[in-house]
Subunit: 149 residues, 2 copies
Amino acid sequence: MADPLLTSAGYLLLKAGTHFHTLIDATLAELGLNGRQLLVLTFTGSEDDLSQQMLSVRLGLDPTIIVALVDELEDRGLVVRERDPDDRRRHRLRITAKGRKVHAAAVRAVATAEKEFLAPLDRGDREALRDALVTMMTPRLPWMSGGTD
Amino acid sequence: MADPLLTSAGYLLLKAGTHFHTLIDATLAELGLNGRQLLVLTFTGSEDDLSQQMLSVRLGLDPTIIVALVDELEDRGLVVRERDPDDRRRHRLRITAKGRKVHAAAVRAVATAEKEFLAPLDRGDREALRDALVTMMTPRLPWMSGGTD
DNA sequence: TATTGTTATACTCTATAACTATA
DNA sequence: TATAGTTATAGAGTATAACAATA
């Protein structure tokens, strides 16, 4: 059972990712959200007047997918679309007060789930893991240096 | 841009997982394989006379998905199905010599891709990352202690 | 002529249920 | 009656292309 592939850092990284994804989905489902919707709230909450195009770049999703995604959040009163007066093709997305409340609750829930997921690690291991992930992923998450994904 | 959620260990873990998944898919595509097929070769190569049911448990996939998965590998001569004489409902899956060659090449390719992916980390960080992943995931990968996934 | 947002369509993947052959 | 494998069908999710409004 000590197959080198199955105990490699890469494979374990894939497995950790999918397991955590499952956990987060279950956690957010209790709030009626999914991970994608939480990210929309996060980005609209931290960046003003985001267009749907910009959002699609942030999320790494096709712009056509953004439509239904924003539709539902707007129907639930968590974000609003406003025509950009400077370029009337664009929608400016804004989070609502209600959206901020839901976002805050979701962030707390995710933090709790993360704590549970990382529980097998001691404090030093947790910090080492996070440091390694930051080092590895920062150059690959272009919005941190101003771009995609 | 220093949004706490987007720089959390959990989110970066998800991102690392999907990025690595994309890299592995591209890497294996050059060999005409995908990650799932590589795992089938890995499990049939290390465990004798695996049934499709057992394989479905190992992979965490519905048994109905296994059919087409094994079909294609069998068509390409990488694994074979043999009726289990002790229970003629069962198929015993066996990797072929050709399958072992393809498997070995794929494992080498994945190792190279992993090295590239972890390149931003120094040796100590890489070991810390792998240790943390092993600690975190070993109790969650039941076949390591004899079960699912 | 190009771009934003939108809609419609086709394709892939998966889950569910039903079938067969064996037990 | 239950199980291993298989097949068929329906649903979710996605990508592609086409369209309207605006630039």
